[in-house]
Symmetry: C2
Subunit: 403 residues, 2 copies
């Protein structure tokens, strides 16, 4: 069962605030196993591997390695690359040339697919190696795992950002009445849903939440907005960039202008600005849009400590599992208790992970399709590693009028 | 010289992360002066005053007041309202009715103008009162003060956000090569300039910085971008929402679509997306845009401790100055030393403040108009209350190729 040789770790797909914590976990754990000789990093994931671009992780200082857990983005560099048959053959050649017997690939569905196929080809070719997927995605849409490393931190950022942006809107409610707060999430609304964690008491923003799991109907949306605006305290709306209409088409598609003649007059996309426009035209109400874009997944100070610890844990568990003989699996997170929150790890077949997508389930979305349920809050609250900070709420005892 | 009566404080214009710290300073200090009887808050600034909408700040708990300093936005509510002669007369009537002898108004140029005019009218009418402006603006464009409370925190947010977003871009440099990072700043580039504080060493993002103080020339911009992209490590560009062309016209104007027929095809604004489009069309390079919008001025965890302390200080000093006999002035910040950083307060006539705007001076902008100078960094660094956190930088010692 003991397999001796070198190990390789790579990072794939969109960065998160904690993917480097998983790298930290891999490195720290790999150093503890005599089976693992050299420990290499793939520079820019499989893209680097194709060019045989490997770096020596044992050459890094202890200080650098310790800092990985608090460093957002992807320290080894990342890529988005779909491989063809020739690419897979090339990967295997690189593995053989460098005696790679352990391959750890940190990513989402596509990376699980890549890792699985690498493992299959190695087996068919008689190259003994163990391949393990390490979960990562801010979108939180992987199956077989309670949640995904990276999600807790993007959720924390958005809860904190919505809290502030919501207070800002309420302060300016008679000027900029509506705030559109756009989050990431191409096909699933997990990130948008997390803005609900900004609420500390009833009536707190966000007042409306729209997920791509429910088709977006402009008339219903405008009625919702009007109802909230009429309360007089502003209206803060969290929307997912992936919102779709009843036919499943994106609400707004980014279109590139053609040619330079369009300078200043380009046809431009942007869901937030589209909704600002819709509200202005249909309701005659002024709105503003915030779109933090990649800031939400890379803001170091908003790392969830729970997320950091779990990201590191799945990295370490990947090494333990591989050294123990496992292969062709992804490490999963298994919640064993919610009060107090406790989480351990399991495994799931890479092939199953590669082909599954997990949208926000019905029981987490309210009947009107414009908010989340208490069950979602129960699920998500522990992941952000502590509530949003308390804020001053003036009671504003009114002074008797004299005029 | 002693003037007994009630005091009134109001917040005006766009919120900041620390305007409530100034309110905290006013309340705490006002409680210490026997000259001040009741202490009122104007609900939504002058807009509330016109409706005689005052609240009793002495009725708030000590816990609520202590929390003000860590609460972003504007706890009393704010407004943007230009007053006419009838409005000013009404304000004076409210002041007389409630025996307001001290008026503290926390805002920017326009608020200074309002406060000055209130003071003038009171004097002409024989109503003895003292009016003091308290500076506030994320834009940092007030004259007569070294910097403005609110700026240090928006600068801190943007330095932190650009650091993360920059790492994100570098990690994905072969996929999403260019990042457009759009900040606030209608007429002055102070906020955008602060993204330079994200750099810890040469070559760190942002690679290019464009301020509205320099006219924006697309051809020069594209040449800059191409030069940075060719280095192969991605290109991170900080731009100010207020960028203007050689004729002084905004690069992109937000246009509302007319009618619902335009659903999905509205002509939409957005500088970031315009530049993404320009780069795609002219250079054939993929870019993304981040626009944190109001998040940047309301993100509690990014408050600069220096900014919080100074915002509280100018609030307290406003009360001390007024009780001491001053009127018709704004409290200013006066830097007395940079190593170590030390700052005290002064005063400037409200009328002068009302009519001055302070753009980023030439000595803070490099000759090419695409970056800031070391002198700017010297100026801005102390204001964010500590550097951005260190990050792991893998040395990536390459493994010798074998294929």
């Amino acid at each position: 069962m003991s397999l001796k040789g070198n190990a390789l770790v790579g990072q794939s797909g969109g960065p998160t605030a904690v993917i480097n914590a998983s790298l930290h976990g891999v490195i720290e754990q790999a150093m503890q196993h005599a089976e693992i000789a050299d420990l290499y990093g793939a520079v820019r994931g499989v893209q680097g591997l194709l060019g045989e671009d490997l770096c020596d992780l044992r050459a890094e200082t202890a200080e650098t390695i310790a800092r990985l857990s608090s460093t957002p983005a992807a320290a080894l560099g990342s890529c988005r690359r779909k491989l063809n048959d020739a690419d897979y053959a090339r990967l295997l050649a690189v593995f053989r040339a460098h005696d790679i017997r352990y391959f750890f690939y940190n990513g989402g569905n596509d990376s699980a697919d890549t890792t699985h196929k690498v493992g299959q080809l190695a087996k068919e070719s008689g190259w003994e190696m163990r391949v393990i997927g390490i979960p990562k995605t801010v979108d939180n849409d992987l199956g077989f795992t309670d949640h995904c490393p990276g999600y807790g931190s993007v959720a924390r950022f958005n809860a904190l950002a919505l809290q502030g942006s919501g207070l800002d809107t309420q302060a300016m409610a008679t000027v900029d009445t509506v705030k559109i707060f756009e989050t990431m999430g191409r096909n699933a609304g997990w990130i948008t849903a997390a803005t609900a964690l900004a609420r500390a008491q009833a009536g707190d923003p966000p007042h409306l939440i729209y997920l791509p799991e429910c088709s977006f109907a402009p008339a219903r949306f405008l009625a919702d907005v009007k109802r909230v605006v009429d309360r007089g305290q502003g209206c803060v709306i969290a929307v997912c960039e992936g919102l779709r209409d009843a036919e499943g088409k994106p609400i707004v598609t980014f279109k590139h202008a053609v040619g330079t003649d369009s300078f200043g007059h380009a046809q431009l996309g942007g869901l937030g600005e589209f909704l600002v426009d819709l509200i202005a035209n249909e309701l005659g109400i002024k709105a503003r849009a915030d779109k933090s874009g990649t800031i939400q997944r890379s803001f170091g100070p908003a790392q969830s400590p729970v997320d950091v610890a779990e990201a590191k844990m799945v990295g370490a568990e990947a090494v333990k599992a591989a050294v123990g003989g496992a292969s062709d699996v992804m490490i999963t997170l298994v919640r064993t208790s919610n009060h107090p929150y406790q989480c351990t790890t399991g495994t799931a077949p890479l092939e199953a992970v590669a082909n599954a997508e997990r949208p926000v389930p019905e029981e987490f979305i309210n009947a009107d399709g414009n908010d989340v349920t208490p069950a979602f809050l129960e699920y998500a609250r522990p992941l952000i590693g502590g509530p949003v900070p308390p804020v001053a709420r003036l009671t504003m005892v009114r002074v008797t009028k004299k005029l």
